[in-house]
Amino acid sequence: MLITTENLVKKYTMGESEIRALDGVSVSIAEGEMTAVVGASGSGKSTLMNMLGCLDRPDSGEYFLNGENVSRLPKDRLAGIRNRYIGFIFQSFNLLPRMSALENVELPMQYAGKKDARGVAERALEIVGLAGRMRHEPGKMSGGERQRVAVARALVNDPALILADEPTGNLDSKTGEEIMSLLESLNAQGRTIVIVTHDADIAARCGRSIRMKDGRVVS
């Protein structure tokens, strides 16, 4: 298993009340799977994704990534894991302004200390179909193009796991479709992908769906 979680709990306290964003989540995802996470708004999908992406640490429970228990690693180790094993794609693209597409895509490699970041970034942008837009800044690109830059950025360090939190949420159906087929082709090459979505069609295209409700996995 690439991912195994045992009883993950994440609590938020807002004044008096306590919200259990994750309330004992145990899931397993095998290498090469394409998994959808679905559920109502506020059910804890994003919280789970952040946990799986090592952006957040659980209050209790264990998370094994590729066999290693990462639930209580120090911050710097988690940063290294995010950098090398995980690629993120967000609903709101999250590209850096004032930097060209190329520079955005180079960034993960720079934190990894890799040489020839330029060449790899160019190839990644070609793969997502942006060969002609490399020098553009995100501000001058369409939403679909921006999300493709984000996909390219998620790819460059050759991660084992790609996490996409509503990657098509800000796109029209046609561009959303393009991003989906891009992710499908990445999965076809053997990459493990987890997609949070509200779109039943997209969920149906994934090999498997995890349904969440009130911080629990219901199916």
């Binding site: 952006l55 957040d56 911050k75 290294g80 090398r84 999250n94 302004p97 004032r98 934190y111 200390g113």
Partner: protein, 403 residues
Amino acid sequence: MLFLTIIKVALKSLVANKLRSFLAMLGIIIGVGSVIAMLSIGAGAQKDIMNRISMMGTNLLSIRPMQSAERGVSTGSSRQNLTLEDAEAIVERVDSIDAVSPVASSNAQLKYFNKNTRASVIGCAVTYPYIGNFEVEHGRFFRESEEESMARVVVLGSETASELGISGKQLGERIQIRGISFEVVGIMKEKGGAGRFSQDDSALVPYSVAMRILFGMDYLSNIDVRAVDGADLTEVETDIATLLRSRHKISDPENDDFRVFNQADIIQTATEVTDTFTMLLGGIAAISLLVGGIGIMNIMLVTVTERTKEIGIRKAIGARDRDILKQFLIESLIMSGVGGALGAAAGIATSEIISSASTFSTSVSPGSVALALAFSAAVGVFFGYYPAARAARLDPIDCLYYE
């Protein structure tokens, strides 16, 4: 992450907010500029003194009155315990003496027709130019006979002469010193040095005239002594001190009412004075650097808040806390560094302007530029650290969902 990339990113974000970055740097620019300008004034003054001293020769001694039982340096003029007889006794009783000149000096107003100037009027003996290595350029120095007859004759320093509009052609003309008429018999050759450290802004008269007619003083400001070449100066110093002690009936050297200065003492005194001056000016300037640092800190805190989302994105793709720290630290370092460089240019320009527009001579030392730059870099790191550390500690999730 590559150092060069960080610098590029930092420069980009500074350029993106040109006006704001400039305003943040302004404090540093002013601070560094004033440090360099101030230090250049101090260094210029010091250079002047050194030039003057080295021109006077090395076997010169100067005896100045001191308040008894008081240590350290005094200005001397208010003390009334060195007399003409002391000067005569030194000539007669101390070995290895080449020449002695009593000196009675004070500032006075000089007038030539409608031109006025203030000069240091030095009453001295005919030996004075020889002792101090001064030369007469036009005319002559006053004579021993004039000294004895208390002739009202004056030899002008080059600067005094030009301020009164007197050149070699006006020798023999009469000027007024404190309302008393003097014949100009000569003009001294320019010795260099500027401002208050110059000898060129003086007027030399016979000591007898200075003491009895001009200033009405029966004591001396100092006694200048030139030892013969190759004399053991320490021995001469001791002999003079012993002689004066017996003349002044002092048994304990602690109670000396005079002090014998040699060149080393004079240099040290001058250095102490200019060092104090320099430290004072430098201190004021350093405070403005500090204020500049606070300006940078302020802007960096704003920058960090504005770029919270960027911090979240960078952390999500693998930036460690220390990568973020480094990035913001370099950004503030660049800001203070660029500010420092601009300030150095401004300081050098200011020092040029000061030296050409006033009597201060200035000297920008590479050391002071290096010091100011190092200081501004330190300010950048010191005041940039807190905002950068704050950025580094931020939680990636909080940053990513920050609106």
